[in-house]
Protein backbone atom coordinates (compact mmCIF):
# COMPACT_ATOMS: atom_id res chain seq x y z
CA UNK A 1 0.00 0.00 0.00
CA UNK A 2 1.43 3.31 -0.98
CA UNK A 3 -0.21 5.62 1.46
CA UNK A 4 0.21 9.22 0.51
CA UNK A 5 0.31 11.21 3.74
CA UNK A 6 -0.55 14.84 3.66
CA UNK A 7 0.70 17.23 6.24
CA UNK A 8 -1.74 20.02 6.81
CA UNK A 9 -0.34 23.38 5.79
CA UNK A 10 1.22 25.49 8.47
CA UNK A 11 -1.26 28.06 9.64
CA UNK A 12 -0.56 31.54 8.36
CA UNK A 13 -1.72 33.53 11.34
CA UNK A 14 1.32 33.36 13.53
CA UNK A 15 2.85 30.58 15.57
CA UNK A 16 1.59 31.85 18.91
CA UNK A 17 -2.12 31.54 18.16
CA UNK A 18 -3.10 28.38 16.30
CA UNK A 19 -6.73 28.02 15.30
CA UNK A 20 -9.14 26.50 17.83
CA UNK A 21 -12.79 25.55 17.50
CA UNK A 22 -13.63 24.81 21.12
CA UNK A 23 -15.71 27.20 23.15
CA UNK A 24 -16.12 27.55 26.92
CA UNK A 25 -17.67 24.77 29.00
CA UNK A 26 -21.20 25.67 30.08
CA UNK A 27 -23.68 23.65 32.14
CA UNK A 28 -26.03 23.40 29.15
CA UNK A 29 -23.24 22.00 26.98
CA UNK A 30 -22.30 19.41 29.59
CA UNK A 31 -25.97 18.41 29.82
CA UNK A 32 -26.05 17.88 26.07
CA UNK A 33 -22.85 15.83 26.32
CA UNK A 34 -24.31 13.63 29.05
CA UNK A 35 -27.50 13.16 27.07
CA UNK A 36 -25.39 11.99 24.11
CA UNK A 37 -23.86 9.32 26.36
CA UNK A 38 -27.06 8.22 28.10
CA UNK A 39 -28.96 8.03 24.81
CA UNK A 40 -26.16 6.17 23.05
CA UNK A 41 -25.92 3.35 25.59
CA UNK A 42 -27.99 0.22 25.15
CA UNK A 43 -28.07 -0.38 28.92
CA UNK A 44 -30.14 2.81 29.34
CA UNK A 45 -32.94 1.54 27.16
CA UNK A 46 -32.81 -2.01 28.52
CA UNK A 47 -33.09 -0.82 32.13
CA UNK A 48 -35.89 1.58 31.23
CA UNK A 49 -37.81 -1.03 29.22
CA UNK A 50 -37.53 -3.67 31.96
CA UNK A 51 -38.66 -1.16 34.58
CA UNK A 52 -41.75 -0.20 32.55
CA UNK A 53 -42.58 -3.84 31.83
CA UNK A 54 -42.27 -4.66 35.55
CA UNK A 55 -44.54 -1.79 36.59
CA UNK A 56 -47.25 -2.36 34.00
CA UNK A 57 -46.90 -6.13 33.70
CA UNK A 58 -46.97 -7.03 37.40
CA UNK A 59 -49.89 -4.69 37.93
CA UNK A 60 -51.85 -6.32 35.11
CA UNK A 61 -51.01 -9.77 36.50
CA UNK A 62 -52.30 -8.81 39.96
CA UNK A 63 -55.40 -7.05 38.65
CA UNK A 64 -56.24 -9.98 36.40
CA UNK A 65 -56.04 -12.65 39.09
CA UNK A 66 -57.37 -13.32 42.59
CA UNK A 67 -60.45 -11.72 44.11
CA UNK A 68 -61.50 -8.41 42.46
CA UNK A 69 -60.70 -5.35 44.62
CA UNK A 70 -63.77 -3.96 46.37
CA UNK A 71 -63.68 -0.51 47.91
CA UNK A 72 -64.91 -0.54 51.53
CA UNK A 73 -64.24 1.16 54.84
CA UNK A 74 -61.09 -0.96 55.25
CA UNK A 75 -60.08 -0.94 51.59
CA UNK A 76 -59.68 2.56 50.17
CA UNK A 77 -59.42 3.41 46.48
CA UNK A 78 -55.84 4.53 47.10
CA UNK A 79 -55.09 1.19 48.75
CA UNK A 80 -56.14 -0.60 45.57
CA UNK A 81 -53.78 1.59 43.56
CA UNK A 82 -50.92 0.81 45.94
CA UNK A 83 -51.41 -2.93 45.45
CA UNK A 84 -51.33 -2.55 41.68
CA UNK A 85 -48.16 -0.43 41.94
CA UNK A 86 -46.27 -3.30 43.58
CA UNK A 87 -44.04 -3.63 40.48
CA UNK A 88 -42.23 -0.52 41.74
CA UNK A 89 -40.46 -2.64 44.35
CA UNK A 90 -38.69 -4.46 41.50
CA UNK A 91 -38.54 -1.61 38.99
CA UNK A 92 -36.65 0.52 41.51
CA UNK A 93 -33.75 -1.93 41.32
CA UNK A 94 -33.46 -1.41 37.55
CA UNK A 95 -33.63 2.37 37.83
CA UNK A 96 -31.22 2.43 40.75
CA UNK A 97 -28.84 0.40 38.61
CA UNK A 98 -29.25 2.85 35.73
CA UNK A 99 -28.30 5.64 38.12
CA UNK A 100 -25.31 3.80 39.57
CA UNK A 101 -24.03 2.93 36.08
CA UNK A 102 -24.11 6.58 35.00
CA UNK A 103 -20.89 7.06 37.01
CA UNK A 104 -19.54 3.60 37.80
CA UNK A 105 -19.71 2.74 34.09
CA UNK A 106 -17.37 5.63 33.36
CA UNK A 107 -14.96 4.65 36.10
CA UNK A 108 -14.98 0.99 35.00
CA UNK A 109 -14.21 1.83 31.37
CA UNK A 110 -11.83 4.71 32.03
CA UNK A 111 -14.05 7.15 30.17
CA UNK A 112 -14.21 9.26 33.31
CA UNK A 113 -10.66 10.45 32.57
CA UNK A 114 -11.70 11.72 29.14
CA UNK A 115 -14.84 13.26 30.63
CA UNK A 116 -13.06 15.11 33.43
CA UNK A 117 -10.18 16.14 31.17
CA UNK A 118 -12.61 18.15 29.02
CA UNK A 119 -14.62 19.40 32.03
CA UNK A 120 -11.81 19.94 34.52
CA UNK A 121 -14.09 21.87 36.87
CA UNK A 122 -15.77 18.44 37.36
CA UNK A 123 -18.96 19.35 39.24
CA UNK A 124 -20.90 20.28 36.06
CA UNK A 125 -20.57 16.60 35.10
CA UNK A 126 -22.41 15.49 38.26
CA UNK A 127 -25.17 18.07 37.83
CA UNK A 128 -25.53 17.18 34.14
CA UNK A 129 -25.84 13.46 34.84
CA UNK A 130 -28.50 14.16 37.48
CA UNK A 131 -30.45 16.53 35.24
CA UNK A 132 -30.34 14.20 32.24
CA UNK A 133 -31.42 11.18 34.26
CA UNK A 134 -34.23 13.08 36.00
CA UNK A 135 -35.29 14.41 32.61
CA UNK A 136 -35.56 10.87 31.28
CA UNK A 137 -36.99 9.24 34.42
CA UNK A 138 -39.81 11.66 35.24
CA UNK A 139 -41.73 11.33 31.95
CA UNK A 140 -40.88 7.65 31.55
CA UNK A 141 -42.04 6.61 35.02
CA UNK A 142 -45.06 8.91 34.88
CA UNK A 143 -46.07 7.26 31.61
CA UNK A 144 -45.55 3.83 33.13
CA UNK A 145 -47.57 4.72 36.26
CA UNK A 146 -50.45 6.17 34.25
CA UNK A 147 -50.44 3.20 31.86
CA UNK A 148 -50.37 0.91 34.87
CA UNK A 149 -53.29 2.73 36.47
CA UNK A 150 -55.57 2.51 33.45
CA UNK A 151 -54.61 -1.10 32.68
CA UNK A 152 -55.21 -2.21 36.26
CA UNK A 153 -58.50 -0.33 36.75
CA UNK A 154 -59.85 -1.57 33.41
CA UNK A 155 -58.97 -5.16 34.28
CA UNK A 156 -60.40 -4.88 37.81
CA UNK A 157 -63.71 -3.39 36.74
CA UNK A 158 -64.09 -5.91 33.89
CA UNK A 159 -63.86 -8.64 36.56
CA UNK A 160 -66.46 -7.00 38.80
CA UNK A 161 -64.15 -4.99 41.06
CA UNK A 162 -64.90 -1.43 42.17
CA UNK A 163 -64.26 1.31 39.65
CA UNK A 164 -61.34 3.50 40.81
CA UNK A 165 -60.94 7.00 39.45
CA UNK A 166 -57.97 9.36 39.44
CA UNK A 167 -60.18 11.80 41.36
CA UNK A 168 -60.69 9.40 44.31
CA UNK A 169 -58.86 10.57 47.46
CA UNK A 170 -55.12 9.94 47.32
CA UNK A 171 -55.21 8.19 43.95
CA UNK A 172 -53.64 10.91 41.82
CA UNK A 173 -50.99 11.47 44.51
CA UNK A 174 -50.07 7.81 44.44
CA UNK A 175 -49.82 7.61 40.64
CA UNK A 176 -47.74 10.79 40.37
CA UNK A 177 -45.91 9.85 43.57
CA UNK A 178 -44.81 6.55 42.06
CA UNK A 179 -43.05 8.51 39.33
CA UNK A 180 -41.51 10.97 41.81
CA UNK A 181 -40.35 8.10 44.02
CA UNK A 182 -38.64 6.26 41.16
CA UNK A 183 -36.99 9.44 39.91
CA UNK A 184 -35.46 10.17 43.31
CA UNK A 185 -34.34 6.52 43.43
CA UNK A 186 -32.39 7.08 40.19
CA UNK A 187 -30.84 10.24 41.70
CA UNK A 188 -29.70 8.22 44.72
CA UNK A 189 -28.21 5.69 42.28
CA UNK A 190 -26.20 8.41 40.52
CA UNK A 191 -24.90 9.71 43.85
CA UNK A 192 -23.89 6.20 44.97
CA UNK A 193 -22.14 5.58 41.65
CA UNK A 194 -20.15 8.82 41.95
CA UNK A 195 -19.37 8.18 45.59
CA UNK A 196 -18.32 4.52 45.38
CA UNK A 197 -17.07 4.49 41.76
CA UNK A 198 -17.49 0.72 41.38
CA UNK A 199 -20.60 -0.86 39.89
CA UNK A 200 -20.58 -3.79 42.32
CA UNK A 201 -20.15 -1.56 45.37
CA UNK A 202 -22.80 0.90 44.18
CA UNK A 203 -25.35 -1.83 43.46
CA UNK A 204 -24.65 -3.58 46.76
CA UNK A 205 -25.16 -0.47 48.82
CA UNK A 206 -28.26 0.40 46.81
CA UNK A 207 -29.75 -3.08 47.31
CA UNK A 208 -28.90 -2.94 51.01
CA UNK A 209 -30.63 0.43 51.37
CA UNK A 210 -33.78 -0.45 49.49
CA UNK A 211 -34.15 -4.20 49.93
CA UNK A 212 -32.12 -5.81 52.68
CA UNK A 213 -32.30 -3.27 55.52
CA UNK A 214 -36.06 -2.64 55.25
CA UNK A 215 -36.76 -6.39 55.13
CA UNK A 216 -34.56 -7.12 58.14
CA UNK A 217 -35.97 -4.11 60.00
CA UNK A 218 -39.49 -5.42 59.55
CA UNK A 219 -38.63 -8.43 61.74
CA UNK A 220 -36.94 -6.48 64.54
CA UNK A 221 -38.61 -6.45 67.97
CA UNK A 222 -41.04 -3.59 68.45
CA UNK A 223 -38.86 -1.87 71.10
CA UNK A 224 -36.01 -1.02 68.69
CA UNK A 225 -38.13 -0.48 65.57
CA UNK A 226 -38.51 3.25 66.04
CA UNK A 227 -36.19 4.14 63.16
CA UNK A 228 -37.86 2.03 60.48
CA UNK A 229 -40.25 4.73 59.18
CA UNK A 230 -37.17 6.83 58.39
CA UNK A 231 -35.50 4.23 56.20
CA UNK A 232 -35.35 5.60 52.63
CA UNK A 233 -37.63 2.97 51.12
CA UNK A 234 -40.20 3.14 53.92
CA UNK A 235 -40.20 6.92 54.08
CA UNK A 236 -40.29 7.42 50.31
CA UNK A 237 -42.75 4.58 49.81
CA UNK A 238 -45.42 6.50 51.72
CA UNK A 239 -46.03 8.71 48.68
CA UNK A 240 -47.39 5.74 46.72
CA UNK A 241 -48.90 4.12 49.81
CA UNK A 242 -46.32 1.38 50.20
CA UNK A 243 -46.26 1.80 53.97
CA UNK A 244 -49.66 0.17 54.22
CA UNK A 245 -48.22 -2.97 52.61
CA UNK A 246 -45.95 -3.59 55.56
CA UNK A 247 -48.05 -2.12 58.36
CA UNK A 248 -46.66 -0.37 61.41
CA UNK A 249 -46.16 3.33 62.08
CA UNK A 250 -45.68 5.43 58.94
CA UNK A 251 -44.76 9.01 58.12
CA UNK A 252 -47.24 11.15 56.19
CA UNK A 253 -46.87 10.81 52.39
CA UNK A 254 -45.22 14.17 51.74
CA UNK A 255 -43.16 14.10 54.94
CA UNK A 256 -41.94 10.66 53.96
CA UNK A 257 -41.10 11.80 50.47
CA UNK A 258 -39.21 14.77 51.91
CA UNK A 259 -37.14 12.36 54.03
CA UNK A 260 -36.29 10.34 50.89
CA UNK A 261 -35.26 13.56 49.14
CA UNK A 262 -33.11 14.32 52.20
CA UNK A 263 -31.19 11.08 51.65
CA UNK A 264 -30.73 12.01 47.98
CA UNK A 265 -29.45 15.49 48.86
CA UNK A 266 -26.98 14.22 51.47
CA UNK A 267 -25.63 11.49 49.18
CA UNK A 268 -25.35 13.91 46.27
CA UNK A 269 -23.47 16.33 48.52
CA UNK A 270 -21.01 13.62 49.51
CA UNK A 271 -20.63 12.58 45.87
CA UNK A 272 -19.93 16.18 44.84
CA UNK A 273 -17.35 16.54 47.58
CA UNK A 274 -15.58 13.33 46.56
CA UNK A 275 -15.68 14.14 42.84
CA UNK A 276 -14.26 17.58 43.51
CA UNK A 277 -11.55 16.54 45.93
CA UNK A 278 -10.24 13.16 44.88
CA UNK A 279 -8.01 12.14 41.99
CA UNK A 280 -9.93 10.81 39.03
Amino acid sequence: MSAVMQIRPVSTHGASAPATVAGPVTQIRVIRAEWTKLRGLRSTWWCALIAVVLIVGLSAAIAGSGAPYKISAANSAAGGVTISLIGILFAQLMLGMLGVLAFSGEYATGMIRATLAVVPSRLPVLWAKLIVLVGLMLPLTLLAAVAEFFTATALESSRGGSAISLTDPGVLREVVGASLYLTVIAVIGVALGALLRRTAAGLSVFAAMFLVVPLVAAYLPQSIKGFTPYLPSNAGGTIWGAGKLFGGHQLGPWTGFAVLCGYAVVLTGLAAWRLHRRDA
Binding site: M1, A3, M5, I7, R8, V10, S11, G14, A15, S16, A17, P18, A19, T20, V21, A22, G23, P24, V25, T26, R29, V30, R32, A33, E34, T36, K37, G40, L41, R42, S43, G105, E106, T109, G110, M111, I112, R113, A114, T115, L116, A117, V118, V119, P120, S121, R122, D279, A280
Partner: protein, 303 residues
Protein backbone atom coordinates in the same frame (compact mmCIF):
# COMPACT_ATOMS: atom_id res chain seq x y z
CA UNK B 1 3.26 25.85 26.60
CA UNK B 2 3.46 23.64 29.66
CA UNK B 3 5.29 24.93 32.74
CA UNK B 4 5.97 22.45 35.50
CA UNK B 5 7.43 23.73 38.73
CA UNK B 6 8.48 21.63 41.72
CA UNK B 7 5.85 19.03 40.92
CA UNK B 8 5.56 16.19 43.43
CA UNK B 9 2.98 13.42 43.71
CA UNK B 10 2.85 10.89 46.51
CA UNK B 11 0.48 7.95 46.79
CA UNK B 12 0.72 6.91 50.42
CA UNK B 13 4.43 6.58 51.09
CA UNK B 14 5.30 5.94 47.44
CA UNK B 15 6.60 8.98 45.59
CA UNK B 16 5.58 8.74 41.93
CA UNK B 17 6.84 12.16 40.88
CA UNK B 18 9.54 13.93 42.82
CA UNK B 19 10.20 17.66 42.56
CA UNK B 20 9.89 17.86 38.79
CA UNK B 21 10.52 21.19 37.03
CA UNK B 22 10.67 21.75 33.29
CA UNK B 23 9.08 23.73 30.47
CA UNK B 24 7.59 22.40 27.24
CA UNK B 25 7.78 25.05 24.52
CA UNK B 26 5.34 25.50 21.63
CA UNK B 27 6.35 24.94 18.02
CA UNK B 28 8.43 21.80 18.53
CA UNK B 29 7.75 18.20 19.46
CA UNK B 30 9.01 17.49 22.97
CA UNK B 31 9.56 13.87 23.88
CA UNK B 32 8.92 12.65 27.41
CA UNK B 33 11.16 9.69 27.91
CA UNK B 34 11.58 7.27 30.76
CA UNK B 35 11.34 3.61 31.64
CA UNK B 36 7.95 2.16 32.60
CA UNK B 37 6.98 3.31 36.07
CA UNK B 38 9.12 6.45 35.91
CA UNK B 39 6.12 8.70 36.53
CA UNK B 40 5.36 9.86 32.97
CA UNK B 41 1.66 8.99 33.07
CA UNK B 42 1.24 10.47 36.55
CA UNK B 43 2.82 13.71 35.33
CA UNK B 44 0.49 13.78 32.34
CA UNK B 45 -2.56 13.15 34.52
CA UNK B 46 -1.51 16.11 36.67
CA UNK B 47 -1.13 18.27 33.56
CA UNK B 48 -4.77 17.47 32.72
CA UNK B 49 -5.88 18.15 36.29
CA UNK B 50 -7.01 14.55 36.81
CA UNK B 51 -4.61 14.01 39.70
CA UNK B 52 -3.87 16.77 42.19
CA UNK B 53 -0.19 17.40 42.87
CA UNK B 54 0.97 16.80 46.43
CA UNK B 55 2.99 19.97 45.92
CA UNK B 56 4.19 22.13 43.05
CA UNK B 57 2.32 23.61 40.12
CA UNK B 58 1.45 22.87 36.50
CA UNK B 59 0.49 25.58 34.05
CA UNK B 60 -0.94 24.93 30.61
CA UNK B 61 -0.65 27.92 28.26
CA UNK B 62 -0.08 30.12 31.30
CA UNK B 63 -3.08 29.09 33.39
CA UNK B 64 -3.99 26.47 35.95
CA UNK B 65 -5.80 24.05 33.59
CA UNK B 66 -8.85 23.23 35.78
CA UNK B 67 -9.68 26.96 35.67
CA UNK B 68 -9.33 27.29 31.90
CA UNK B 69 -12.29 29.07 30.34
CA UNK B 70 -12.34 26.86 27.24
CA UNK B 71 -10.51 23.68 28.28
CA UNK B 72 -10.72 21.87 24.96
CA UNK B 73 -9.10 24.76 23.12
CA UNK B 74 -6.21 24.74 25.60
CA UNK B 75 -5.41 21.05 26.01
CA UNK B 76 -6.07 17.82 24.14
CA UNK B 77 -4.86 14.69 25.87
CA UNK B 78 -4.50 11.01 25.07
CA UNK B 79 -3.98 9.01 28.22
CA UNK B 80 -2.02 5.80 28.46
CA UNK B 81 -4.86 3.60 29.62
CA UNK B 82 -8.02 3.42 27.54
CA UNK B 83 -10.45 6.19 28.21
CA UNK B 84 -13.35 5.50 25.89
CA UNK B 85 -16.72 3.94 26.68
CA UNK B 86 -16.92 0.51 25.00
CA UNK B 87 -20.71 0.71 24.88
CA UNK B 88 -20.73 3.89 22.82
CA UNK B 89 -19.88 4.12 19.13
CA UNK B 90 -16.68 5.88 18.15
CA UNK B 91 -18.75 8.81 16.89
CA UNK B 92 -20.79 9.09 20.10
CA UNK B 93 -17.65 8.89 22.22
CA UNK B 94 -16.25 11.86 20.32
CA UNK B 95 -19.57 13.69 20.15
CA UNK B 96 -20.03 13.44 23.93
CA UNK B 97 -16.67 15.15 24.45
CA UNK B 98 -17.26 17.68 21.65
CA UNK B 99 -20.62 18.79 23.08
CA UNK B 100 -19.00 20.08 26.29
CA UNK B 101 -17.26 22.78 24.24
CA UNK B 102 -20.02 23.38 21.70
CA UNK B 103 -18.04 21.64 18.95
CA UNK B 104 -20.29 20.55 16.10
CA UNK B 105 -20.73 17.28 14.22
CA UNK B 106 -18.69 18.57 11.29
CA UNK B 107 -15.54 18.78 13.38
CA UNK B 108 -16.30 15.33 14.86
CA UNK B 109 -16.55 13.84 11.35
CA UNK B 110 -13.38 15.69 10.42
CA UNK B 111 -11.31 14.08 13.19
CA UNK B 112 -12.89 10.70 12.46
CA UNK B 113 -11.58 10.98 8.88
CA UNK B 114 -8.25 12.35 10.08
CA UNK B 115 -7.80 9.32 12.33
CA UNK B 116 -8.85 6.93 9.58
CA UNK B 117 -11.90 5.70 11.51
CA UNK B 118 -14.48 6.54 8.83
CA UNK B 119 -15.59 2.95 8.29
CA UNK B 120 -16.01 2.08 11.98
CA UNK B 121 -17.38 5.39 13.29
CA UNK B 122 -20.81 3.86 13.93
CA UNK B 123 -19.63 0.70 15.66
CA UNK B 124 -19.23 0.32 19.39
CA UNK B 125 -15.74 1.12 20.59
CA UNK B 126 -15.68 -2.02 22.76
CA UNK B 127 -14.85 -4.13 19.72
CA UNK B 128 -11.90 -1.99 18.66
CA UNK B 129 -8.37 -3.33 18.42
CA UNK B 130 -5.67 -1.63 20.48
CA UNK B 131 -4.59 0.29 17.39
CA UNK B 132 -8.09 1.50 16.57
CA UNK B 133 -8.58 2.47 20.21
CA UNK B 134 -5.40 4.54 20.01
CA UNK B 135 -6.61 6.26 16.84
CA UNK B 136 -9.89 7.07 18.58
CA UNK B 137 -8.00 8.47 21.56
CA UNK B 138 -5.83 10.63 19.30
CA UNK B 139 -8.96 11.84 17.48
CA UNK B 140 -10.43 12.85 20.85
CA UNK B 141 -7.28 14.76 21.75
CA UNK B 142 -7.45 16.73 18.50
CA UNK B 143 -11.20 17.55 18.64
CA UNK B 144 -10.87 21.05 20.03
CA UNK B 145 -7.81 21.98 17.93
CA UNK B 146 -6.05 22.59 21.24
CA UNK B 147 -3.02 24.84 21.62
CA UNK B 148 -1.33 22.10 23.64
CA UNK B 149 -1.43 18.41 22.75
CA UNK B 150 -0.31 15.78 25.26
CA UNK B 151 -0.11 12.17 24.12
CA UNK B 152 0.87 9.28 26.38
CA UNK B 153 2.55 6.50 24.37
CA UNK B 154 0.57 7.24 21.19
CA UNK B 155 2.28 4.62 19.02
CA UNK B 156 1.40 1.77 21.40
CA UNK B 157 -0.41 -0.92 19.44
CA UNK B 158 -0.26 0.94 16.13
CA UNK B 159 0.79 -0.78 12.92
CA UNK B 160 3.69 0.71 10.89
CA UNK B 161 1.23 2.79 8.88
CA UNK B 162 -0.24 4.17 12.11
CA UNK B 163 3.19 4.90 13.54
CA UNK B 164 4.04 6.89 10.41
CA UNK B 165 0.73 8.71 10.69
CA UNK B 166 1.48 9.72 14.30
CA UNK B 167 4.97 10.96 13.41
CA UNK B 168 3.71 13.17 10.60
CA UNK B 169 0.79 14.35 12.71
CA UNK B 170 3.01 15.39 15.60
CA UNK B 171 5.34 17.31 13.32
CA UNK B 172 2.48 19.10 11.58
CA UNK B 173 0.88 20.03 14.92
CA UNK B 174 4.19 21.50 16.08
CA UNK B 175 4.62 23.30 12.76
CA UNK B 176 1.24 24.95 13.36
CA UNK B 177 2.70 26.47 16.50
CA UNK B 178 1.10 24.10 18.97
CA UNK B 179 2.83 22.66 22.02
CA UNK B 180 3.32 18.93 21.49
CA UNK B 181 4.35 16.72 24.41
CA UNK B 182 4.64 13.00 23.72
CA UNK B 183 5.74 10.24 26.05
CA UNK B 184 7.45 7.02 25.14
CA UNK B 185 9.63 4.40 26.74
CA UNK B 186 11.34 3.87 23.37
CA UNK B 187 14.27 6.16 22.67
CA UNK B 188 14.33 5.18 19.01
CA UNK B 189 10.74 6.37 18.57
CA UNK B 190 11.54 9.73 20.14
CA UNK B 191 14.64 10.15 17.98
CA UNK B 192 12.40 10.02 14.91
CA UNK B 193 9.94 12.69 16.00
CA UNK B 194 11.12 14.79 18.89
CA UNK B 195 13.29 17.90 18.79
CA UNK B 196 13.58 18.28 22.52
CA UNK B 197 13.71 15.64 25.22
CA UNK B 198 12.67 15.53 28.84
CA UNK B 199 14.05 12.38 30.45
CA UNK B 200 12.52 11.02 33.62
CA UNK B 201 13.69 8.25 35.94
CA UNK B 202 12.00 7.20 39.17
CA UNK B 203 9.94 10.36 39.22
CA UNK B 204 12.95 12.65 38.95
CA UNK B 205 14.15 14.79 36.09
CA UNK B 206 17.28 13.26 34.58
CA UNK B 207 17.78 15.64 31.71
CA UNK B 208 16.08 18.35 29.70
CA UNK B 209 17.81 19.10 26.42
CA UNK B 210 17.70 18.85 22.65
CA UNK B 211 17.80 15.34 21.23
CA UNK B 212 21.34 15.93 19.84
CA UNK B 213 22.68 17.23 23.15
CA UNK B 214 21.16 14.30 24.97
CA UNK B 215 22.75 11.71 22.73
CA UNK B 216 26.01 13.66 22.63
CA UNK B 217 26.35 13.88 26.41
CA UNK B 218 25.06 10.49 27.22
CA UNK B 219 27.03 8.70 24.59
CA UNK B 220 30.38 7.38 25.75
CA UNK B 221 32.18 7.09 22.46
CA UNK B 222 35.16 4.80 22.35
CA UNK B 223 37.71 3.67 19.79
CA UNK B 224 38.33 -0.01 19.16
CA UNK B 225 42.02 -0.67 18.46
CA UNK B 226 43.26 -4.05 17.13
CA UNK B 227 46.97 -4.53 17.67
CA UNK B 228 49.35 -7.43 18.46
CA UNK B 229 51.09 -5.10 20.93
CA UNK B 230 48.18 -4.48 23.29
CA UNK B 231 50.29 -4.06 26.42
CA UNK B 232 52.81 -1.63 24.90
CA UNK B 233 50.19 0.46 23.10
CA UNK B 234 48.22 0.62 26.33
CA UNK B 235 51.28 2.12 28.08
CA UNK B 236 51.87 4.59 25.24
CA UNK B 237 48.27 5.84 25.38
CA UNK B 238 48.02 6.03 29.16
CA UNK B 239 47.30 9.61 30.23
CA UNK B 240 44.89 11.38 32.57
CA UNK B 241 41.33 11.27 31.18
CA UNK B 242 42.01 8.36 28.89
CA UNK B 243 40.67 4.92 29.70
CA UNK B 244 42.08 1.81 28.09
CA UNK B 245 40.24 -1.46 28.54
CA UNK B 246 41.92 -4.68 27.45
CA UNK B 247 39.64 -7.66 27.19
CA UNK B 248 42.42 -10.29 26.82
CA UNK B 249 42.32 -10.65 23.03
CA UNK B 250 44.08 -8.34 20.58
CA UNK B 251 41.47 -5.62 21.10
CA UNK B 252 41.73 -2.43 23.13
CA UNK B 253 38.74 -0.26 23.91
CA UNK B 254 39.99 3.31 24.33
CA UNK B 255 37.82 6.18 25.46
CA UNK B 256 38.71 9.81 26.14
CA UNK B 257 40.65 10.40 22.94
CA UNK B 258 40.20 10.24 19.20
CA UNK B 259 41.10 7.66 16.54
CA UNK B 260 43.48 10.22 14.94
CA UNK B 261 45.47 10.70 18.14
CA UNK B 262 45.68 6.95 18.78
CA UNK B 263 46.89 6.36 15.20
CA UNK B 264 49.53 9.11 15.52
CA UNK B 265 50.72 7.83 18.90
CA UNK B 266 51.03 4.26 17.57
CA UNK B 267 53.00 5.49 14.54
CA UNK B 268 55.40 7.46 16.76
CA UNK B 269 55.98 4.38 18.95
CA UNK B 270 56.39 2.14 15.84
CA UNK B 271 53.57 -0.15 16.95
CA UNK B 272 51.50 -1.94 14.29
CA UNK B 273 47.75 -1.24 14.26
CA UNK B 274 45.42 -3.47 12.21
CA UNK B 275 42.15 -1.78 13.00
CA UNK B 276 41.04 1.58 14.36
CA UNK B 277 37.26 1.92 14.72
CA UNK B 278 35.47 4.81 16.39
CA UNK B 279 32.20 3.60 17.98
CA UNK B 280 29.21 5.52 19.23
CA UNK B 281 26.54 4.24 21.56
CA UNK B 282 23.15 4.16 19.88
CA UNK B 283 20.38 6.39 21.16
CA UNK B 284 18.87 3.40 22.86
CA UNK B 285 22.18 2.74 24.62
CA UNK B 286 22.46 6.39 25.59
CA UNK B 287 19.03 6.22 27.15
CA UNK B 288 19.84 2.99 28.98
CA UNK B 289 23.08 4.54 30.20
CA UNK B 290 21.30 7.57 31.58
CA UNK B 291 18.44 5.74 33.23
CA UNK B 292 20.23 2.57 34.36
CA UNK B 293 20.21 3.63 38.00
CA UNK B 294 16.61 4.65 37.94
CA UNK B 295 14.81 1.68 36.48
CA UNK B 296 12.04 0.65 38.80
CA UNK B 297 11.43 -2.83 37.51
CA UNK B 298 14.40 -4.78 36.22
CA UNK B 299 13.78 -7.73 33.96
CA UNK B 300 13.86 -10.94 35.94
CA UNK B 301 16.73 -12.54 34.06
CA UNK B 302 19.37 -10.84 31.97
CA UNK B 303 21.27 -13.55 30.17
Amino acid sequence: MIEIDGLTKRYGDKTAVDGLSFVVEPGVVTGFLGPNGAGKSTTMRMIAGLDRPTSGTVRVNGTHYPRAAAPMSELGILLDARSVHPGLSARNNLLALARTAGIGRRRVDEVIELAGLGEVAGTRAGGFSLGMGQRLGVAAALLGQPRTVVLDEPVNGLDPDGVRWIRLLLKSLAAEGRTVFVSSHLMSEMAQTATRLVVLGRGKLISESSVEDFTGHATTSAVLVRTPETARLGQVLAAPGITVIHDGTDLLRVSGTTAEQIGAAAWRAHLPVYELTPTHASLEEAFMEVTKDSIEYHAGATR
